[in-house]
Amino acid sequence: MSENSVEAQGICKSYKSFLGRGSQVLKDISLEVGSGEIFGLLGPNGSGKTTLISIFSTLIFPDRGSMRILGLEAKRNRSKIRSQINFSTAKPNFPWSLTVSESLKHYGMLYGMHGSQLSSAIEENIAAFELEEQKNMKFEDLSTGMKQRLSLAKAMLNRPRLLFLDEPTAGLDPEMAIKTRKLIRRVHQEQDISIVLCTHDMAEAELLCSKVAFLRRGEVVALDTPQNLKNQLRLGERLVIFYQGRVDLKAVEQVPGVLAQRDLPGRAEIVLDRTSDNLDMILKLFAETKIQDIRISEPDLEDVFLELAR
């Protein structure tokens, strides 16, 4: 299927207080999510990510703008769209006293699933998200990681063509976060679905997403592949020199191509536009010191995030 999974044009949203005072959370958002893509929505807290993902999933409505989800005009086809998508929320919650398998059964029924189709979907997802041992545990007794896995299992129940994940690794320990990212990747590969992923974990976005949009104060400030964003912003490469002795870092700043420098105890961090051209000039300035180690690293999405969030 070649159509885009999401096509949004001019989406605006504001929340009004009881007295009618409004605060605009999304301003004229236009973007497309390609079929089969993992698309990242990145941005600091309060940038409008959750509101945007909630609008895309038809949970809430925009004030203005138009959307096509899976090729269907969103206003006229909400029910059809909802049957083909699903959502896993940040800090997932389910009715407390339902067990894992009862929760999945309840939500499967809400999607109109029945009989062997429902029971095999429950079993498959319990196995896929490694919840066999917890299937008879009540939601209130699950750990944060298990709740997150249950939320993902629920999101996959109806075999959605488009999946919305709102901070799927928030609150998880590093091991569980890595496991969850692997599960997302596996689900994406095996089931060939499109995923819109909300996160402020830049490493996660870089690992999973083929395209990302940065939101700041309700606006898309950048939209491209992670690599293109790093190139476009000319963030430079980071050179870290560990040394003993004295060096005039003011002189380092004068070297062509040096974008920034930071003097830290026992090391200097230098951001270079083109490391290869000027590395020798910089190292000459450290000639009187004892260099212990040199590390050069590519900029990552964290650097893009910090640059864009400024």
Binding site: T50, T58, L59, S79, T89, L98, H106, Y107, H114, G115
Partner: protein
């Protein structure tokens, strides 16, 4: 979608309410404790006041009606209350379900629970207070119960509408609206003794007509059960339209997100 899939969308709410109720010890209070307290207090009052058999029937019918109304309406309201309390409302409204799936699914469970409570109260009132609820035959009982459950569905929907409009604090409506019904629609006294404006309110509540109908079997009097049935159908339709409207509004204002936080 197949008819079984469609049926499951209704049964989903009944299934959830059933599981939550069976794991909650306080369900026993809703099913046995409060209904018994209500019936016993009214039954004993009739003995103390040495009222006539007719008056005793009048009051016991009122007590049983109010209890059934409370049990069934809270089950309809629970369809949203349980989601709101557990902050899982997003998961319900992201699914391809309509308001009528949720309301009628929950009502199915409310009717089952109401029927259990009714059976218990009928037996107790027969043996302890000498009142035979089934004296008029099965059909009048079914008509009367249909009226009570339809009124309960409308009250339950009103609770859901209040929550979706005003937020979490509006859950108090779940326990207060049936109190209003107690006041205006002649549970323990004829509506004629109410002040004129309240009588007008009583005349637009279907339960008023169903109570008059059922009491006419035991105490001769006039009734207009067709009016009650018409109002009940009108309110069911109106309730669904208003509930749809409040869901749409909650999606526009974003209250659905706030109810999940």
């Amino acid at each position: 979608m197949s008819w079984r899939g469609e049926l499951n969308k209704y049964l989903a709410s009944a299934y959830k309410n059933w599981i939550i109720s069976k794991r909650n010890a306080f369900t026993l209070f809703e099913l046995f404790f409060w209904p018994m307290i209500s019936l016993f207090s009214i039954g004993l009052l009739t003995k103390f006041l040495q009222v006539s058999q007719e008056m005793s029937s009048y009051l016991i019918i009122g007590a049983i009606s109010l209890t059934l109304l409370q049990v069934a309406q809270i089950d309809v309201a629970y369809v949203l209350l349980f989601d709101m309390w557990s902050k899982s409302i997003k998961n319900t409204f992201i699914a391809p379900v309509q308001s009528y799936h949720l309301v009628f699914g929950a009502l199915i469970f409310g009717i089952v629970r109401g029927a259990i409570v009714f059976a218990i109260l009928v037996v107790v009132s027969r043996y302890l207070f000498g009142f035979n609820f089934l004296a008029g035959g099965a059909m009048p009982v079914l008509i009367f119960l249909a009226g009570v459950f339809a009124t309960a569905a409308f009250i339950g929907m009103t609770v859901c509408i209040s929550i979706l409009t005003f937020g979490q604090k509006a859950d108090v409506a779940a326990w207060s609206l049936s109190g209003l019904i107690l006041l205006v629609c002649g549970i323990y006294y004829p509506v004629e003794i109410l002040p004129e404006p309240m009588q007008a309110v009583a005349r637009v509540v279907p339960l008023t007509y169903f109570l008059e109908y059922y009491r006419s079997i035991f105490i001769p009097g006039s009734h207009n059960v067709m009016m009650g049935a018409g109002l009940a159908l009108l309110y069911l339709a109106l309730g669904l339209i208003l509930l749809d409207g409040s869901i749409e509004r909650a999606r526009k204002t974003g209250i659905l997100l706030r109810l999940s936080e």
